[in-house]
Amino acid sequence: MWKSIVYKEWLKIRWFLIGYTVLGLLGIGYLFLTVKHGFTFSGGKNFWYGILFLGQQYFSYLKYVPILGGLAIAIAQYFPETINKRIKLVFHLPVKENSVLLMMHGFGFGSLLLSYCLIFLVFLGFSAHYFPYEIVMAASITMLPWFLAGFTAYFIVALVVMEPMWLYRVLYALSGGFFITFYVKSALAGAYAPANPGLLVLTVLLSIALIFSAYRFRKGEM
């Protein structure tokens, strides 16, 4: 039965997921084109110096890429479920309501995770070619909250789309929108290290946020 759920979710998001991943990889490719260009024109030592001592971040283009992915997948998955209150079909299936929701959510999350991992691994590969461990590590610490922001965006958009009342959709979006800014503040490479564990915990907790608005829908809030 979960196979059917996976099948349906896959049908909804497949082009978005593939398109986003391809774009993400192309973005990484472009990024390293700029790095190569920088190496050619300023020289490796000046490029490294800029990163180490002048606060330059060669990967800052990627900051909002994960959030875009989270938004895209959430909209692709949940928007078709809520127009004309189509979500009633899901709740009518012979499965526990929260179980089916979490299966759908888990699939979206899993797809996003795969996409992010692919993009990040390619990024790591390129980076390790040009830069030493310390620079790559600092970049990874800086990028972790950006990926967490992507998951958080996914969870929050699902919560907002599922909510039956427009007033509360706005309130949730407001709250969630401000919250996501905490993941993408400007900072030095590696500066997010103390905040990352807390942000990770909060992101994981938000994975079940949509249960709340789905419950409100099922009880007929309008």
Partner: protein
């Protein structure tokens, strides 16, 4: 024979506006119940409560003995649900949607679905969103038949359909239900369709149930009499036996459960003279309008 659906003391308000109070509904196994009512009388509310999409202010609905707000998956598998407008996953085509649903129901019977689909003139990859209203309804109907549920809850199955499709639906449903002893709970705006389909009727008006009984009983006792009166019949409306009274100039339509003799005796004992008194044969729609009144 047990009650498949049993609603006790259902009360619901939208804010301060009362929808109904202490409503009691029962649907016997193997029967086909039609819920008739004007817009806003609480039909969709009732459907939503039955399907667990609305928590009533008080009271409960039991389906196969379980509270409709907490149906177990096993019970849900026995219930087929048609959403108003034949809503389905429009991003799928007919193959994908059959594959999707078949994974949930162990009793899935593809044959009736594909039989209906063979009558559909669509390309194999055509998404449901690009189909017409009628074609979509066929898909929805096919899916329900394939699920082979014991109870079918259909919210306005005729919405948006032209007569050909409506007739198709009714014929399929009735034959299917009677052959397999299925129970159906349905609403519709088009009462002539209901007339062909249902065994029992539940007529709702604002805030209350006007009638809940087999259609045959209802049509047998509810009568329309037409006549002409010279005088103002204002007082007539207040009489207990008069369910409804429609007046156009001096032509009167009187609706009542009482017999013709009773009415004639009443006129005689009250000195009311009338002309052209006759019993009018009604269809279900006429009876419905007679019971609930014109707008």
């Amino acid at each position: 024979m047990s009650n498949v659906i049993e609603c006790k003391n259902l009360t619901h308000y939208y804010g301060k506006k009362m929808v109904y109070e202490n409503l009691n509904i029962h649907v016997r196994e193997g029967s086909i119940l039609g819920l008739l009512g004007k817009n806003g009388s609480g039909k969709t509310t009732t459907i939503n409560i039955l399907n667990g999409f609305l928590q009533p202010r008080s009271g409960e609905c039991l389906i196969y003995g379980e509270n409709s707000q907490h149906l177990t998956p096993a019970n849900k598998a026995r219930i087929g649900f048609l959403i108003e407008g034949h809503i389905q996953y429009s991003f799928m085509n007919i193959h994908q949607i059959e594959k999707f649903y078949s994974g949930f129901y162990p009793k899935w019977k593809p044959a009736p679905y594909w039989e209906l689909m063979s009558k559909l003139k669509v390309t194999p990859n055509q998404k449901i969103s690009t189909m017409s209203c009628g074609q979509r309804s066929q898909v929805a109907l096919g899916l329900i038949l394939a699920q082979d549920p014991d109870l079918l809850i259909l919210d306005d199955f005729s919405m948006g359909l032209d007569p050909g499709y409506r007739r198709l639906f009714i014929d399929y449903l009735r034959e299917y239900a009677k052959a397999e002893n299925k129970t159906i709970f349905t609403t519709s705006h088009i009462i002539q369709d209901m007339e062909r389909l249902i065994d029992d009727v539940l007529i709702m008006d604002y805030n209350r149930v006007l009638a809940q009984c087999p259609v045959a009983d209802f049509m047998g006792t509810f009568k329309q009499f037409n006549f002409e009166l010279e005088d103002n019949p204002a007082n007539l409306k207040k009489e207990k036996f008069v369910v409804n009274l429609e007046v156009v100039k001096n032509k009167i339509e009187l609706y009542t459960y009482e017999s013709e003799d009773f009415v004639k005796k009443f006129f005689a004992s009250n000195g009311i003279e009338c002309k052209g008194f006759k019993l009018v044969k009604m269809g279900l729609e006429d009876a419905f309008i007679g019971l609930t009144g014109k707008y």
